[in-house]
């Protein structure tokens, strides 16, 4: 069993190399690169599968929660921002 740091470095290398290959070449590459390491292979495969759309998913979680939080501060609280009281609004986003 490789040390965690060593395993992580291998995972990183395998991930990037596999993504540089054509889709149909990846299986054979993973077989060879992960020889015997079933868990390593499973993790690499899961990451390769998650690569497309991963950023959008993470952004969606953050933006979506941010919007929920922004929409949550309505009514009374809307008139106050921290120590400030809102006297008038000077503009709103479209």
């Amino acid at each position: 069993m490789a040390a965690p740091e060593e395993r992580w470095r291998r995972l990183e290398e395998i991930f990037h190399r596999a993504l540089d290959l054509e889709r149909e070449e990846r299986g054979a590459y993973l077989d060879a690169a992960c020889a015997g390491g079933k868990e390593l292979r499973a993790e690499a495969e899961a990451m390769i599968g998650a690569d497309t759309g991963a950023g959008e998913r993470i952004e969606g979680a953050i933006h979506g929660t941010f919007e929920l939080a922004a929409a949550d501060s309505d009514g009374e609280e809307r008139r106050r921002i921290g120590p400030y009281e809102v006297l008038r609004e000077i503009g709103r986003a479209a």
């Binding site: 965690p4 740091e5 992580w8 990183e12 991930f15 990037h16 993790e43 899961a46 990451m47 390769i48 599968g49 998650a50 690569d51 759309g53 991963a54 950023g55 998913r57 993470i58 952004e59 969606g60 979680a61 953050i62 933006h63 979506g64 929660t65 941010f66 919007e67 929920l68 939080a69 922004a70 929409a71 949550d72 501060s73 309505d74 609280e77 809307r78 921002i81 921290g82 120590p83 400030y84 809102v86 006297l87 008038r88 609004e89 000077i90 503009g91 709103r92 986003a93 479209a94």
Partner: protein, 190 residues
């Protein structure tokens, strides 16, 4: 077109100054700009209310000021501010979940009923955010730099270039780390 939001600028280790009469809520300081944080959330998204967005930015600002930290420059500020934004959103998500589970209803049957009615439920942003937070914490355990890159990029709203500057690594390193971090996080989020 999103109008310029009300600006908060951090004055290192100082109390709040302002408001400036020209602009109702302007806090002047030494060039640390929390609007840069908010910009990350606004990019490509329609923000329906500048005031509400600003209230969140302000909360982050107040927490930063309340920390009583001696700022060791821009890098330090961004690292802490991005982490602060992450905590604010995670706190909000947890609070929202706790409220939803309030009222004496059995949380398990509530979840199951909701899931049956709405198969998309598990992708609600606040649940996703909590999963992201857990995954990011685990990522930091194996690769601190990658987790910081994700925090700075996503929670701090920094560009690849800015992230590289803050961490003192190359543009290529940030891109490579960021790509792996996103894929790893997404699979770890389930």
């Amino acid at each position: 077109m999103v109008p310029e939001p009300i600006r908060f600028t951090l004055q290192p280790a100082q109390s709040v100054v302002g408001p400036d009469p020209q602009s109702p809520v302007t806090i002047l300081g030494n060039g640390f700009d929390l609007v840069a944080l908010a910009r990350g959330y606004m990019r490509g998204e329609q923000v329906n209310d500048v005031l509400q967005t600003t209230a969140l930015v302000h909360e982050a600002y107040m927490r930063l000021v309340g920390e009583d930290v001696q700022w060791q420059g821009r890098d330090h500020f961004f690292a802490i501010a991005a982490g602060m934004m992450r905590r604010i959103l995670v706190d909000f998500a947890r609070h929202r979940r706790a409220e939803k589970r309030g009222g004496g209803a059995d949380p398990v049957s509530l979840d199951e009923a909701r899931l049956a009615a709405d198969p998309e439920w598990k992708t609600e942003p606040d649940l996703e955010l909590m999963a992201l937070d857990d995954a990011l914490t685990r990522l930091a355990g194996v690769d601190e730099r990658k987790s910081r890159i994700v925090e700075l990029r996503f929670f701090g709203g920094l560009t690849i270039e800015e992230t590289a500057g803050v961490l003192g690594v190359s543009h290529a390193t940030v891109e490579r780390d960021f790509k792996m971090a996103k894929a790893w996080l997404s699979q770890a989020m389930g």
